[in-house]
């Protein structure tokens, strides 16, 4: 029988894999991809809690729709910034960016 525990543990594992990626990736695109993993962990968590604890309400599902929208907007803007940094002649490795340092 599927319980709430299964989904929470899955989302915790996915969340911390994403955290590991954000902390260790040098490439800024890799950091953005790890952020997508974190967003997905949060989505699984929200839908699972919404389905198991308040099955008559669907607020968790609606929040997940908005999270997916904001994640898409964040991804577009992040990739645009990375592309602009790349085209201004800088490397896109996160530990070598010094555009805003003076």
């Amino acid at each position: 029988m599927l319980t709430l525990m299964h989904f929470i543990i899955l989302s915790v594992i996915l969340f911390f894999i994403g955290i590991f990626g954000v902390l260790t990736r040098r490439n800024a695109i890799g950091i953005l991809m790890s952020l997508e993993l974190i967003f997905n962990a949060i989505n699984i968590n929200m839908v699972a809690f919404s389905k198991f604890l308040t099955p008559q309400e669907i607020y968790g599902v609606i929040f997940t729709v908005f999270i997916i929208t904001v994640a898409a907007a964040e991804s577009v803007l992040g990739l645009a910034i990375i592309l602009a940094i790349y085209r201004s002649g800088q490397k896109i490795f996160a530990d070598e960016m010094n555009l805003m340092k003076w």
Partner: protein, 167 residues
């Protein structure tokens, strides 16, 4: 019972492909593994009876975000060679921190008594209800989300083309 088998299949797929997203040496393979992860998350949504979410997960994440990521990887290809290291020096501290956090939260979850709060969940499709909610109770956040998408669209075009004018 069958849903438990499917849950384990999707969970193993999610964890393995997410680990490959994080540790893969080639960032292009990493984007392809990300597509597999997002697809398996859509499967988990189906197990949770959230069919609409599974649909928009495939459409938006795999159809838009992963494709966009692959585009940007291809546009910044020259510095993606295998000679460049893809991970920084803090791999071991990051591994320790993530493992500690994950073990702590899983222990806390296992110790919590959920049985008093869980209402038995009946399988039904709530897509019609979701549409009603989005256009009645949540209409202002819904419109705000559309404005946000418009701002992101204009903003990304402005960011990318501003750079060209400066040259």
């Amino acid at each position: 019972m069958i849903s438990l088998i499917f849950f384990y299949i999707f969970a193993v797929l999610i964890v393995i492909s997410a680990i490959f997203v994080v540790i893969s040496k080639n960032i292009y393979y990493s984007a392809l593994w990300l597509a597999l992860t997002l697809f398996s998350v859509a499967g988990v949504f189906i197990l949770l009876n959230a069919y609409f979410l599974a649909g928009i997960q495939v459409l938006i994440y795999i159809g838009a975000v992963v494709v966009l990521t692959i585009f940007v990887i291809n546009l910044t290809k020259e510095i993606e060679g295998k000679k460049e290291k893809q991970h920084n020096k803090q791999v071991i501290p990051a591994l320790l921190a993530s493992l500690t956090g994950a073990v702590l939260i899983i222990l806390a979850v296992l110790k919590t008594d959920w049985s008093s709060r869980i209402i038995n969940w009946t399988a039904y499709d709530e897509t019609a209800k979701l549409g009603n909610f989005l256009l009645a109770d949540f209409v202002i956040p819904f419109e705000a989300a559309s404005v946000l998408l418009l701002i992101a669209l204009i903003g990304s075009i402005a960011i990318v083309s501003l750079d060209k004018e400066n040259k």
